[in-house]
């Protein structure tokens, strides 16, 4: 019998994850012990400080790794290398601005149900609302999700990856159901997300099982060495790899695993949608990159067909369906599907610059996404009495917004043209790099399709700009119908940070490019 050897644990390398998860646990205890009045403030401070501290820790680890080279952590379950740390940093930046939007209480109310367990529309719910109750569990839940996401890009064995997947998903399932308004839609979204998420977890687990059966290991490095040893083709290996990739593609919302995206994005509270759209995609793509670049190269020729088909479908379906949407959130949801397709180009390229280009694209996309959804939370409807109610999400309600609220409209335009990939925004440089990597990897037919899809995608982004600036507003000056609420300031900060980031990434991307350029190789 083998002697048990306790694993060496490099606590410093784990510090970003430990800070976030530790403060999430503290957040649960805050829920238990701190009186209701002080709870919200405490939670906001904890979350913001936690994410900020984790970001500092990641920066510190970056310096260490630059000096001492990448290492395997916790008996090889995690890898601390440049791509992982960079993905974590990008994730934390987006989570930070996302948290600001989540914490904001524009028009005096946050975006979440006052009592999530109440039946929608019941007297109890109205009472809870009147009493000013708040489901401050949102913050520890978000922190748990961030914790899982932090592990995701660093995970170097399939079981760790699976656990991280669940840790990041479960809080999101719950958060998706907490919208203050349109409760039923929100609960439906939550249920759908949970069921389809569980479904994809099953795929993922099946894939792990097959790969374990094939190689006798769940670790990426051992899988990678087992793959070239195969003579001919092994159905078990191929099926296992495909199933694991399917599980990850579900999280990034690639076609045909995208069906949850529009419904969940629409139903979830808008700040959560922004957080989820940005951060889940970052984490999942970082993990997908590691899996594909470390394990799959030996299988390149067999998997290319499947990945190409998925990338093409994702770009086309996302773009085409976004064109016909009339709801802002659904439009952005389909646009995020299309972006997943563009990002897949960098994954398929299988060249070193693919890693760095995808990471840059994720940062540009993440900032624009959080900013755009942050702005969605501010544009509201009014009822007959002039009270501010839910978000004005129908496209027509945005007509003429540019005239009444030029700054907001200009920021939104900025995010849209970044999505569209027009120069002087981060989205352009991102597209440039990803397409470049794909051409380098020989996938030029994909680039041609991507270019055509980008041109078509510009149509629906531009349509919103047309609505905001060129269309006469529906209401009159006295009763505009759509109104923009004042924020507590947090959303404004988040949006401004995202806008500045988007412009800087487009105009002076040099420093960030230097960072991503050093993240071109995964540690085996």
């Amino acid at each position: 019998m083998n002697q048990f050897v306790p694993p060496e644990i490099d606590w410093a390398a784990l510090s970003p994850v430990l800070i976030v998860l530790g403060l999430a646990v503290v957040g649960v205890l805050v829920e238990a012990f701190v009186p209701m009045r002080a709870r919200r403030a405490t939670q906001v401070v904890l979350a913001v400080v936690g994410v900020g501290a984790a970001l500092v820790a990641v920066a510190w680890r970056w310096v260490v790794v630059q000096d001492e080279g990448p290492t395997a952590v916790v008996a090889g379950a995690l890898r601390e290398d440049a791509p992982a740390l960079l993905a974590q940093a990008i994730l934390l930046v987006c989570a930070f601005v996302g948290l600001l939007v989540i914490a904001d209480r524009s028009s005096g109310e946050d975006a979440f149900a006052p009592a999530a367990a109440a039946i929608p529309g019941s007297a109890y719910e109205a009472e809870a609302r009147k009493a000013g109750l708040a489901q401050t569990e949102v913050f520890p839940l978000t922190m748990f999700a961030v914790g899982g996401m932090l592990v995701f890009p660093a995970a170097a064995d399939l079981l760790t990856l699976f656990i991280a997947l669940e840790v990041l998903s479960l809080p999101l399932y719950l958060l998706a159901g907490l919208a203050r308004r349109r409760r039923l839609l929100s609960q439906e979204a939550s249920l759908k997300y949970f069921l389809l998420g569980a479904f994809s977890s099953a795929f993922f687990l099946m894939g792990i099982a097959l790969l374990y059966g094939y190689s006798g290991s769940v670790r990426f490095d051992e899988l990678a060495t087992a793959v070239p040893a195969t003579s001919g083709l092994d159905g078990m290996l191929l099926a296992g790899v495909l199933l694991v990739i399917v599980g990850l593609l579900f999280k990034v919302g690639a076609v045909p695993f995208h069906s949850w995206v529009p419904d969940v994005y629409q139903g979830a509270p808008t700040p959560i949608t922004g957080f989820m759209a940005a951060c889940t995609k970052i984490a999942a793509f970082a993990a997908l990159l590691r899996f594909v670049y470390v394990v799959v190269p030996g299988l390149q020729w067999d998997l290319t067909v499947a990945l190409w088909v998925i990338a093409i479908l994702t770009m086309i379906v996302g773009t085409v369906l976004a064109v016909v949407q009339t709801d802002m959130k659904r439009m952005l949801a389909y646009s995020s599907v299309a972006h997943a397709g563009f990002l897949l180009l960098g994954v398929i390229a299988l060249v070193p610059s693919g890693i760095s280009s995808v990471l840059f694209y994720l940062l540009a996309y993440g900032l624009a996404t959080v900013g755009a959804f942050g702005l969605l939370t501010l544009v509201r409807e009014r009822d007959a009495d002039g009270n501010v109610t839910g978000e004005a999400l129908h496209l027509s309600q945005w007509a003429g917004l540019g005239r009444r609220h030029p700054v907001l409209a200009v920021c939104f335009t900025l995010f849209l043209i970044s999505f569209a990939g027009i120069p002087l925004t981060g989205g352009f440089i991102g597209k440039f790099l990803v397409f470049g990597a794909a051409i380098e990897g020989g996938a030029w037919p994909l680039v041609v399709i991507a270019v055509l899809a980008s041109a078509a995608a510009a149509f629906f982004y531009v349509r919103v700009i047309v609505l905001m600036f060129f269309t006469e507003p529906a209401g009159t000056d006295a009763d505009p119908g759509t109104t923009v609420v004042r924020t507590e300031g947090l959303t404004a900060v988040a949006v401004v940070v995202c806008a500045i980031g988007t412009v800087l990434l487009g105009v002076l991307p040099g420093p960030i490019l230097d960072l991503t350029a050093s993240a071109t190789k995964f540690m085996l």
């Binding site: 120069p423 397409f435 470049g436 051409i439 047309v466 600036f469 269309t471």
Partner: protein, 528 residues
């Protein structure tokens, strides 16, 4: 000139100043009221700056890129901020700098309030809208100068795409009743062309060694020369984008809509300067980077250019909308320019370059004067006008002057370049010249017919309905229309002077251009 003077980063200053002023006007509330004078002063300053720069330009070395400034921008992808102008760049920068103040003066009161604004906010809203217009024009001026000065392919592409945004807003916010459709059509056409070019820009990178400075035009030359098929694809990816911009048959259909819906000032900048980016790109990028492919494709392109010349002229004759007529006449003129670029003789090339400047000035005069008329008359339909030369004498006279310059009357700006392009084409092949001459006849027809319809004949009586096909319009009071005001005259004077100057004494400009033309014509000549 003292050397320090020439060493200043002229181009960067000229690029930055208008943008900064534009941002100030738009963001700082107190400045909004004075947006128009501030904008005009800025554009005049820029014009003076360009004039000083032209003074310091070494004409003897006009083929060399001067006033260069190169800074590493995004070293990871080999992009630099590199600006500089040769003789051609300088003349086009000067054209842009001349037209902006003219447009601002001509469009002083062009921006009005839309309906539905409460009276108490009207004044603020109007100031805001005007400030927006001036800001967009200034931003556009920066970008126009930058694109003609760009010496880096990546920078060129970035500006090429970024330019769409101010133009899009200029058409979409300040245009006529169908402005939204026109703006969208413009944007989608240009964006599609631009994205195709993006694929080309990326692909060019992989044909080089990479590293900082990869995209400098000076370091790029004859891309993929050992692989003609690849070079042809790359050439096409750039050429299509430029052809959309130019606009050439068959991708010209966005222009008439945009020109008819935009304000006359916007149309002036759009057709007068921006579309020149297309032909400028064909010369400065397509020829040196893909000489072999350009030479191979030249016959096809020339055929398309001849179709543009004849088709544009014929369709212009059939137009009832004054602005659309001018737009189609431009399609015809751009045919001449493209032909001059690709026939491969030095004479035609220098003619094409001069044509760009001359066309920019005459088309500006035509658009602006027509704009003065249509704003007075409240309609762009030529059928609702008649006998205007008795009512608005100066307006009719200046329009005729601009029209004659456009149809290449000797002594006016259009003559020399058209003559040079035709001579150069005959040198290359008699058939090219023979077909192109048809364009000259057509241009006389559409200009003079339009003049006849609008300015001669009896003045219609107020209230009398005009028979239009299918619809009858009540003609407003045509006899009471005012002639050009002092401000409007001042806007036209500089244009008229340049038209005369280019017609009577083009030597200084030709001197600037001939060296550059030699260089580019030689590229095409040696490749074919």
């Amino acid at each position: 000139m003292p050397t320090q003077f020439a060493d200043l980063p002229w181009l960067t200053i000229l690029i930055v100043v208008p943008t900064v002023v534009a941002a100030l006007i738009w963001l700082v509330k107190p400045l909004r009221r004075a947006a128009r004078p501030i904008g005009l002063a800025t554009s005049v300053l820029v014009l003076i700056g360009v004039a000083l720069m032209a003074g310091a330009f070494e004409t003897a070395d006009a083929a060399e890129v001067q006033f260069t400034q190169t800074v590493d921008w995004i070293s990871a992808i080999g992009a630099s901020y590199a600006v500089g102008v040769d003789g051609m760049g300088l003349t086009l920068v000067a054209l842009a700098a001349l037209l902006v103040p003219v447009v601002l003066i001509a469009g002083w009161n062009e921006v009005t309030l839309p309906s539905g604004i409460a009276a108490d906010r009207a004044e603020d809203s109007l100031a805001y809208r005007r400030a927006g217009f001036v800001s967009l024009v200034l931003v556009l001026e920066s970008l126009m100068i930058a694109i003609f000065a760009a010496q880096d392919l990546f920078l060129f592409y970035v500006i090429f795409e970024a330019m769409l945004i101010p133009v899009y807003f200029l058409i979409g916010v300040y245009g006529g009743p169908n402005r939204r459709g026109a703006a969208l059509k413009f944007l989608l056409y240009s964006l599609a062309g631009g994205l195709v070019m993006l694929a080309g820009v990326i692909a060019v990178y992989f044909q080089t060694d990479g590293g900082p400075g990869t995209y400098l035009l000076a370091n790029l030359g004859d891309i993929a020369s050992d692989n003609p098929t690849l070079q042809m694809w790359l050439f096409l990816s750039f050429f299509i984008a430029f052809a959309v911009k130019a606009p050439m048959f068959p991708v010209h259909t966005w222009l008439p809509d945009a020109a008819a819906q935009a304000t006359p000032g916007t149309s002036t900048l759009l057709v007068g300067v921006l579309d020149k980016v297309g032909t400028f790109g064909m010369i400065a990028i397509c020829l040196p980077l893909f000489p072999g492919a350009a030479a191979t494709a030249a016959p096809v392109i020339i055929v398309l250019a001849i179709i543009s010349i004849i088709y544009g002229g014929l369709v212009a004759i059939g137009q009832n909308d004054l602005m659309r007529m001018i737009a189609f006449s431009s399609v015809s003129h751009f045919g001449f320019i493209v032909m001059g670029v690709f026939v491969g003789t030095q004479t035609a090339m220098v003619g094409a370059m001069l044509y760009m400047v001359a066309h920019g000035v005459t088309i500006a005069a035509l658009f602006l004067i027509s704009g003065f008329l249509t704003q007075r008359g409240g309609s762009q339909d030529m059928r609702t006008y008649s006998g205007m030369q008795r009512v608005t004498r100066v307006l009719a006279g200046t329009w005729l002057f601009a029209g004659l310059a456009s149809l290449a009357l000797p002594g006016l700006s259009g003559f020399v370049p058209e003559y040079l392009v035709l001579i150069g084409s005959f040198e290359a092949h008699w058939a090219y010249g023979a077909f192109a001459v048809i364009g000259v006849v057509l241009s006389a027809l559409y200009i003079l017919l339009a003049y006849q319809r609008v300015f001669t004949g009896p003045v219609p009586e107020a209230g009398a309905p005009v028979e239009l096909t299918g619809e009858a319009l009540d003609v407003p009071d045509r006899a009471g229309l005012k002639d050009l005001t002092g401000r409007e005259k001042w806007a036209i004077v500089p244009l008229a002077l340049v038209v005369l100057f280019l017609g009577l004494y083009p030597a200084p400009v030709l001197e600037l251009l001939s060296g550059v033309a030699d260089q580019f014509a030689a590229i095409l000549g040696s490749a074919s």
